[in-house]
Amino acid sequence: MTSRERILEAVRVRKPAPIPLPDPRPPASTPASVDGFIARVHAIGGQVERTARRRLAEVIALRYPSATMVASTVPEVVGSISLSAIQNPHDLAALDLLVLGGTLGVEENGAIWIGERQMVHRAAPFLAQHLAIVLDEARLVSDMHAAYAAIRIEAEGFGAFVAGPSKTADIEQSLVLGAHGPRTLLVLLVPVADVLPGL
């Protein structure tokens, strides 16, 4: 008997009597609030700037004057290196800044969903010293139920909710931003009007 069979058999014999699975939760009726999302990102140690798409490059240049190695997967911002030209993610060890697009923002906790395609290299958003995520305000949802209803986690090989800069409180419960991953997180919120055609 293999361990697989042994475990499955033990579970089959010993599991409790069937208990029903609750139905999927009905979607929240409350629409997401932009102000609520901004307050939440601030509370978890992130920064927010509302800006039109055409001003993105300018904002990045102003915010990160000393960043030398910059990668971007957002068409409006041109980096100093191209992620797709890099074969080995170890070559991103010195990455100062990564600018990428987020799929979805969650008001209740400030988390933003990022899929593998947007990262190009899965390691990039974790290696970068600073991370900037561009997110359309139209892509905000109120809570995690709405978020999981709007994405398919298996659509890409890897995807993550990112909520603020990396942090730790492992030394005497003192909060320190910048544990292993990015030291700062900037969310660039693009107002709804800006994405309408003709503006």
């Binding site: 400030g110 988390a111 298996e154 890897f158 492992d170 544990a179 991953g181 990015p182």
Partner: protein, 454 residues
């Protein structure tokens, strides 16, 4: 008496430090309260989480097979480990076959339970725990003292001295920001040098064959996205049926653990990185046995948030190491006796049965009731001390008949006037207590007098 009481006595010998530990954990408990109160449907969410977990456990064989099928379709290699030994062998075989000598690990209570690190180190593999708290306790060669805050028993001065010795930080420096920066630089070099990365698993999703890992530091991601091999060790009870169920658990986990609205990173792995390998090791190690215990199977709902530790008056005042188990606190005290009753016989008694653990548990495990039931199992197996056994026998005999109780009460009051304070101090329970003031009359006498005088 050995076990928890004597270990707790050692912890309490440094009273100032014990007070500090108590306050540090209560602070986390208060953060949890604020986070929970900010969610309007918190109680409904707990109910839902409990139902989803109970449903999954009652169909666990089906979900395990579904998970395996989906994961395999995604290119994940699934392994099955009956016990800790087999888990460790599978991991070592994977590393050996690829010539791996440097492994980075993110937090995994399961690999602590399996004692994986010493096994790999014996075989010549360098194992680096990368969660800051875990790295600290690894450098000190001790186990984590808390599920989510492994180094909560240490003060920043302890860590400053440790880093001075191990990482060459300035002598006497204890600023958390400075020490974290030193650890960041140290561990970056290990991430970049690792040939394999091992993580735990917070949730496995049966319908998609994905595994979800939650961290604040980003250490799990840095490890696995750089190394060519990712091994994820997962207890068989970690499954949820559907991706949407993750919404329920991600809303509860961090709020219950640290009071954050969500962990910084909630990473979903469905397929290996192009050119890399992803292996999931499903581990039983006593879980299927626990599933068959009608009084205790609900303990398998646990999502390892640590809320029951932070709120527990006994944990806060005795520290995680006093439990002598991988999982300490109330949840450790109901999961460990099932693995080795004799060894962990003192743990169900490391509780006041106040029920605070049950109140904060995000998946509504009836923790204090299970503690009470484990006490009965321990007593029935004859694992209580002679003194406790006789005290319970005498107590039971006295309480069984009202006349005996009245008689014992009368004698008790008389003896109490004569009892020297030193006698009480000799009993473990009475060490910090005084005898109560003897009542002048019993309630019954008082009531009778009152009635007669009307």
């Amino acid at each position: 008496m050995n076990g928890h009481p004597s270990a707790a006595a050692r912890f309490l010998a440094d009273e100032a430090r014990a007070d500090w530990h108590d306050a540090a954990l209560w602070f986390v408990r208060e953060k949890r309260d604020r986070a929970a109160e900010a969610v309007p449907d918190w109680e409904a969410l707990r109910d839902r989480a409990s139902q989803i977990k109970e449903h999954t456990l009652s169909h666990l064989d089906d979900y395990l097979e579904q998970f395996e099928r989906q994961a395999a379709r995604n290119g994940i290699v699934v392994h099955w480990a009956h016990d800790a030994t087999e888990h460790n062998r599978i991991v070592l075989d994977l590393l050996r076959a690829r010539g791996v000598r440097r492994l980075v690990k993110s937090k995994s209570m399961l690999t602590e339970e399996c004692h994986l690190n010493p096994h790999l180190e014996h075989a010549g593999v360098e194992v680096v725990d990368t969660d800051l708290g875990e790295r600290i306790v690894q450098m000190r060669d001790e186990p984590p003292s808390h599920i989510v805050m492994p180094a909560i028993h240490l003060k920043k001065e302890d860590i400053g001295a440790l880093f001075h010795e191990k990482l060459g930080t300035e002598a006497g420096a204890s600023d958390p920001q400075y020490l974290t920066e030193a650890a960041r630089r140290h561990l970056r070099s290990r991430f970049l040098a690792a040939e394999a990365a091992l993580t735990g698993v917070n949730f496995g999703v049966a319908e998609t064959g994905s595994v979800v890992v939650c961290t604040n530091e980003g250490n799990a991601d840095l490890g696995v996205h750089l190394a060519p091999l990712h091994i994820a060790s997962m207890g068989i009870e970690k499954l949820v049926p559907r991706a949407e169920d993750l919404a329920v658990f991600t809303r509860l986990l961090a709020r219950s653990a640290t009071g954050q609205p969500v962990t910084v990173y909630t990473s979903h792995f469905t397929r290996p990185r192009p050119g890399a390998e992803l292996h999931v090791v499903l581990v039983d190690n006593g879980r299927s046995e626990q599933l068959g215990r009608s009084d205790f199977w609900r303990s398998l709902k646990c999502i390892r948030c640590g809320a029951c530790l932070n709120t527990c008056p006994v944990y806060r005042r005795s520290g995680g190491h006093s439990y002598g188990t991988t999982l300490s606190g109330p949840i450790g005290a109901i999961l460990s006796p099932g693995q080795d009753l004799l060894r962990h016989r003192s743990l169900p008694f490391a509780s006041t049965l106040c029920g605070s653990c049950t109140d904060v548990c995000p998946v509504k495990i009836d923790i204090h009731e299970q503690l009470y039931r484990w006490r009965q199992v321990v007593a029935a197996a004859g694992h209580v001390t002679v003194g406790k056994r006789w005290a319970m026998k005498v107590g039971g005999w006295v309480l069984r008949r009202p006349r005996r109780l009245r008689w014992a009460g009368a004698w008790g009051r008389r003896l109490l006037r004569l009892a020297p304070a030193g006698l009480l101090r000799r009993l473990p329970w009475g060490r910090r207590r005084d005898w109560p003031e003897p009542a002048t009359s019993t309630f019954q006498e008082w009531y009778r007098n009152r009635r007669d005088s009307r």
